[in-house]
Amino acid sequence: GDSVTQTEGLVTLTEGLPVMLNCTYQTAYSTFLFWYVQHLNEAPKLLLKSSTDNKRTEHQGFHATLHKSSSSFHLQKSSAQLSDSALYYCALRNMGYKLTFGTGTSLLVDP
């Protein structure tokens, strides 16, 4: 079945350093990938999404490129900010509008 893998449970960075959160997926259907962000005690909300192969998608300083050849959709940012500390979920659209989420990566940015 469809699955999303986020290998890092926790990523700790110093402010100003680049961010890269990994996401790989498996699916037999059309590919629509998402990144959701959840700040502490808040609801998850959409950060960015893509269905176009090899096209960079950007939002709020974050960017990701869907690579269907490697089944990857890694999230990146050039310079981490304290406010980026949050839980990040990669998600895959299945048939019938179902979204399958990865297990999430907690990003902690230190001063």
Partner: protein, 112 residues
């Protein structure tokens, strides 16, 4: 302003009691979802509803049922709650094929 509202925000129940979690949205979205969130497991889909009385099981439906009698309301019911159903429950809605999910603030349920 698009909004998904969940009630209650916090709930403590004893094992064996029935639990009703309610969710409302003001966007006339056809599709609504119930997820549970557990540390290390992420967000797991319990049920999805495509419209009134058109519900489908998600990945972990056992022990849960849902009801959707109006497009704007989607309820999650736990009949005879179990301790392993202690979790944070999120309701979400989406429009058409866009699949952007709008989440409610969540209900933190403790089953003792």
């Amino acid at each position: 302003d698009m909004k998904v509202t969940q009630m209650p925000r916090y709930l403590i129940k004893r094992m064996g009691e029935n639990v009703l979690l309610e969710c409302g949205q003001d966007m006339s979205h056809e599709t609504m979802y119930w997820y549970r969130q557990d540390p290390g497991l992420g967000l797991q889909l319990i049920y999805i509803s495509y419209d009134v009385d058109s519900n489908s099981e998600g990945d972990i439906p056992k022990g849960y049922r849902v009801s959707r009698k109006k497009r704007e309301h989607f309820s999650l019911i736990l009949d005879s709650a179990k301790t392993n159903q202690t979790s944070v429950y999120f309701c979400a809605s989406s429009f058409g094929s866009q699949n952007t999910l709008y989440f409610g603030a969540g209900t933190r349920l403790s089953v003792l």
